[in-house]
Symmetry: none
Subunit: 212 residues, 2 copies
DNA sequence: TTATAGTTAGAACAGGTGTTCTTTATCATC
DNA sequence: GATGATAAAGAACACCTGTTCTAACTATAA
């Protein structure tokens, strides 16, 4: 596959900008003016190349019948409710039936669908404090959770330690008569406790961090 | 505000369907046929009503110049190019003019606009290896970068250490005649080097992690 | 009924728009 | 230099498409 020429990249970029700015695709003459191209036939020529490269698709004889093939972003986005905060010494918020209703929740968040991977019952928690650095999670991070009551061995989960009254994010391994909680950071030591002491609140499926 | 008539709702629905199916807006005659309307003027008449109701916006004298105003999640979404990997011992990929072109890049990623905050020149790097755990960044994470050549003190940045031939993510503080590189994890120790040894490759503005 | 606003039909116009054709220019390769 | 592929310029054609105009048809209220 040959590389796109300067002009072709300019055109693709212009279509992108036009589309997101105006909401409808540009005509050939829009592209001509917007990219300072001398003739409509030159635009046509390069659009055909862009189409053969799979960048766009064109509909013959239809004005503004250009479509960007980069899969429309809207399909790759999911909206999840942010139902509260998770901090070391405080109980972990548990989703209730009405928190699922994205429209009814005070705060929501849009995230790439890749992170969800078609899972149901996904919600988000804001991390407060630096107590979870051993899980490579910082103050202010947002963790994406899936609501489950049990996890497979090795899954990272939000765990409530009853006797310690502490919330933590660890990889969970159920062993013979104890539970091993392993930090994500392999440099840190694991931790053992009794099965009755742990309460699985949810499975961690992702982390989003915004750096100042 | 009067309610929309049956016909107007049908038209709005048709525009929506047409747009998501074809990728460009319908012409008046498309709507006419699609909704079994007898005359283009009837379509025009009802489109004007839809516009005055704020459902759509129209651009005069421009074919297919219809835009749906219902705020779609797509407005909260930005697409950034994933231009390569960042690993401890390998050079950091630097964006080139054509990598900016979202349409021309092999891999892209959709992320919530909140993470971008209107910044320009944003790209993404895939993290390889666990060498950046001290920055609370794990193997497989994706870091969002902004292309800058200099950063303010305290900013987390992708740094290339020339003599060590090593890429790293640290908070950068320029001091009198040395540069302090501070891990994001406050439990880890800072690191000093000469100003000539550091090459700022970009500013870290976010991290996205997918857990298994 | 009459009046009035809201809606529909049909047709025609003018400009927008995709397409195509011919000619010319550029450039690498033999 | 000859040659062929790639790229561009300019113009012209024919259809697409938004707009507009007139006339007719509803429905509701006076």
């Amino acid at each position: 596959m040959k590389r796109l020429s300067e002009k072709q990249r300019l055109i693709a970029k212009y279509i992108n900008k036009f589309l997101s700015k105006k909401g409808y695709p540009p005509s050939i003459r829009d592209i001509q003016k917007g990219c300072n191209i001398s003739s409509t036939s030159v635009v046509d020529y390069n659009l055909n190349i862009l189409e053969s490269r799979g960048i766009i698709s064109r509909h013959a004889e239809i004005s503004r019948g250009i479509r960007l093939l980069s899969k429309s972003p809207a399909e790759n986005i999911s909206t999840v409710p942010v139902i509260g905060m998770i901090a070391a010494g405080e109980p972990i918020p548990v989703p209730t039936p009405d928190t699922w209703d994205v429209a009814a929740v005070s705060e929501t968040m849009d995230i790439p669908s890749d992170l969800i991977q078609g899972r149901e019952d996904v919600y988000a928690l804001r991390v407060k404090g630096t107590s979870m650095v051993d899980a490579l999670i910082n103050d202010g991070d947002i963790v994406l959770m899936q609501h489950v009551s049990a996890v497979e061995n090795g899954q990272m989960a939000a765990v409530w330690l009853k006797s310690e009254k502490e919330a933590t994010l660890k990889k969970v391994y159920v062993e013979k008569d104890r539970v091993r909680l392993q930090p994500a950071n392999s440099q840190m030591r694991e931790f053992y406790t009794g099965p009755d002491n742990v309460e699985i609140q949810g499975k961690v499926i992702g982390v989003v961090r915004q750096v100042s």
